[in-house]
């Protein structure tokens, strides 16, 4: 090799396969989100060779997603309405930074048709479906009608909104409900995450439930339309990962079971759905594709179904965005769904990898499980537990992936969703994946805030869960926090006594420890701990009483 030209030729040869893909789908992408999902999207951008632009509220100025990005733009003060939901500010940030595309992640603006429109008007590519698809699918009733028209079985119920007149007028509604069969769910057409939803067991309760659900839907979504749907007892919540390219091709990339929920918030998901045979999987995937075709789906989406104990699938709804739990499908298929989203948004048809994964989707050869670790107290009905994270030791090792948006020192704010990290594991089958998840959760140490780790450690050891006997009622049927917490509490008392004795001087007359021992004690002593400062003496004396109101259902969270 003599001349520069020779070297260049060799270089070009050796890197040829890479060079073909080296031209990224976009030069610069703005990530309109925060936390773990923003970080996850930024990583995908960097692997593709795109620059990533982060946005942040004042609460997140030092957040990991801001540091990971190539550029970052401040949006405004902490409340989401002033920052991550401020459409004009985000579009302006994208234009000011020369971004070509906007990835909305999940939650926030990901399913707002107005935002997709605003991006398109500004000449930005919205990484997601078209604005008209978003508008169509945002209304669950129109989704139900379209699915039914496409021949997909929808959960029995009404296909039109039900209304209650001031002067009665419930006759038709009650007759409709009788035809559907009790118990019945009253659901908001614009709803999500269990809001605007009521279960009704008797005809006499129907009127009140319709009025209450409608009022809640009006105040939450600005649309009071509600409909009736049969409550399917003992059902599992299953879903299918879909991708649609700009050429109109639609593929199903596998299924997930998300039955482990409380109040319609998912706590743990797995892929594939345990216990289905190949035939059932093919049927489920075909139903999902039929729904997607009916909407002219583009980019990533998920079709959700109920799986009756008898084995029937009933269509629930379509989510036209990346799901929180997309990672388990990635681990099973080997795809990077965010990178695929960006390629689709850039107009490229499906590559071989996607088509191969779609062909193999009904015969999965690996099993993945995800535990959503949130700052919530599982002993107090999963009430949010904000604070400062003073210790953060995430698991690692073979087959373990942790998508986290926080680190030691991070503050968990009250303004946003309390999801801290997703612990995902993959192994060749479900029993091995469960062992791996048990191992990973055992390694995870978090201090400063209460997390859902105790719940997750408990469930991965529960016989019914291990046996795959899942249903959406699993948590209410089996979770009893007091029984699980008590042994830990006794142990904590003993450990604290041992720690006190270890650090206390042995001189007679001394009544408290002076020296600080090595290890965790010393390391946790600094920096100043906000959680610790905050605990007032009243709590210590047990004289403070707090009551949570019945607004529990109204916790605002990511849509599922």
């Amino acid at each position: 090799m003599g001349t520069i030209g020779d070297i260049a030729a060799v270089f070009a040869q050796r890197h040829l396969p890479v060079a073909v893909e080296a031209s990224p789908p976009f030069r610069r992408v703005l990530v309109a989100n925060r936390g773990e999902i923003a970080l996850r999207i930024i990583r995908a951008c960097h692997e593709l060779g795109c620059e990533a632009v982060a946005v942040y509220s004042d609460a997140d100025a030092d957040a990991p997603h801001v540091r990971a990005a190539d550029l970052a733009v401040r949006l405004g003060p902490p409340p989401a309405a002033d920052s991550y939901l401020a459409m004009e500010v985000i579009v302006a940030a994208a234009l000011a930074t020369g971004s070509q595309a906007v990835h909305p992640g999940y939650g926030f603006l990901s399913e707002r048709a107005e935002f997709a429109e605003a991006c398109e008007r500004a000449g930005l590519t919205f990484v997601g479906p078209t604005a008209s698809t978003l508008a169509g699918l945002g209304d669950k009733l129109s989704a139900r009608r379209a699915a039914a028209a496409a021949g997909v079985p929808v959960v029995p119920g009404t296909l039109e909104a039900v209304t209650v007149d001031e002067d009665g007028g419930m006759g038709d509604v009650i007759a409709g409900a009788q035809a559907i069969g009790w118990p019945i769910l009253v659901k908001a057409a614009a709803g999500g995450g269990g809001r605007g939803m009521r279960r009704v067991d008797r005809a006499t309760d129907l009127r009140g439930a319709v009025v209450a659900a409608s009022r809640e839907a009006m105040s939450t979504f600005g649309d009071g339309s509600v409909y009736l749907e049969r409550y399917v007892a003992g059902a599992r919540h299953v879903e299918v990962q879909l991708l649609g390219d700009a050429q109109g091709e639609i593929v199903a990339l596998g299924d997930r079971d998300c039955s482990v929920q409380r109040r319609h918030q998912k706590l743990l998901e797995e892929a594939p759905v345990p216990g289905l045979d190949v035939q059932q999987r093919r049927e489920l995937h075909a139903l999902a594709i039929a729904v997607a075709r009916a909407f002219g789906l583009r980019n990533a989406a998920t079709a959700e179904f109920l799986l009756e104990p008898a084995g029937r699938f009933w269509f629930l709804e379509v989510n036209t965005r990346l799901q929180v739990e997309h990672g388990v499908t990635e681990l099973v298929t080997g795809l990077d769904l965010v990178q695929e989203q960006l390629w689709i948004a850039a107009g490229r048809p499906f590559g071989h990898r996607v088509l191969r994964a779609a062909e193999a989707a009904a015969v999965p050869t690996a099993h993945a499980i995800e535990a959503r670790i949130s700052a919530e107290d599982p002993a107090r009905d999963f009430v949010p537990a904000p604070g400062t994270i003073t210790r953060w030791r995430a698991p690692a090792g073979p087959g373990v992936r942790v998508d986290a948006g926080v680190e030691e020192g991070s503050v968990v704010w009250t303004d946003y969703d309390p999801l801290l990290a997703k612990v995902m594991v993959v192994a060749e089958d479900r029993p091995l994946a469960l062992r791996r998840l048990r191992r990973a959760l055992g390694e995870f140490e978090v201090g400063g805030v209460q997390t859902t780790l105790p719940f997750h450690r408990w469930i991965v050891g529960h016989p019914a869960f291990i046996a795959g006997r899942l249903s959406t009622a699993f948590v209410p049927d089996h979770w009893n926090s007091a029984d699980v917490r008590e042994p830990a509490l006794l142990r904590a008392a003993e450990l604290a006594a041992a720690a006190w004795a270890t650090t206390a001087p042995s001189a007679p007359g001394a009544d408290g420890p002076r020296a600080v021992g090595s290890g965790a004690v010393a390391e946790a002593a600094s920096p100043p701990r906000r959680a610790a400062q905050g605990v007032p003496s009243e709590a210590h004396l047990g004289r403070s009483s707090w009551a949570r109101t019945a607004r529990r259902e109204a916790i605002e969270r990511w849509p599922r």
Partner: protein, 175 residues
């Protein structure tokens, strides 16, 4: 619970000879919370190494001046625990009982979570029963009612609707 490893056999910092000194006597251990749990127990020197791994020192709060407040995480459960010699705790209890009898019952109700004040029902001079609603605090889109820990008279209301409060901020003072 942490797996028992060879490391557990090793004496922890300070060693078992001092840690288990019976001359220091029984400890009062309070696991804090809305329903505090109080234990009187002898420290187990065999646990000192495990404690070094799972126990952190809390820098402030009751007992922190004596260095006796800890954060302990067991099986993912997080506890705030204060520890002091049982004899000293008993003495403090006597002092407090005397003070309550003497009518020194004035104390501040503080925010236990950060958030925004939604409603204020308490008004200065108002007589309240134990459990009466004082104010409500919105955190993570949920309304939390703050109630009077005991009967008394509202001496001061330190917040107004819309105010943002941090953990430990004074809300209402009841005399």
């Amino acid at each position: 619970m942490a797996a028992v490893t060879v490391g557990d056999i090793r004496p922890g910092p300070g060693g078992p000879s001092t840690a288990g000194d019976p001359a220091r006597g029984t400890l009062r251990v309070t696991v804090e919370g809305s329903e505090p749990r109080v234990f009187e127990l002898m420290p187990d020197p065999a646990l000192s190494a495990a404690a070094a791994r799972s126990v952190g020192r809390l820098a402030s709060g009751p007992g922190a001046d004596a260095g006796g407040r800890f954060e302990v995480v067991v099986d993912g459960w997080r506890f705030e625990v204060s520890v002091e010699p049982a004899a000293r705790a008993a003495l403090r209890d006597r002092v407090r009982r005397t003070a309550v009898r003497a009518g020194v019952g004035r104390h501040a109700v503080r925010a236990q979570i950060p958030g925004r004040i939604l409603h204020v029902w308490a008004a200065p001079g108002q007589a309240v029963e134990a459990g009466a609603r004082l104010c409500s605090l919105e955190a993570m889109k949920m309304e939390n009612e703050v109630r009077a820990p005991h009967a008394g008279t509202i001496e001061r209301v330190s917040v107004e609707p819309g105010a943002r409060v941090e953990v430990g901020d004074e809300l209402v003072v009841i005399a």
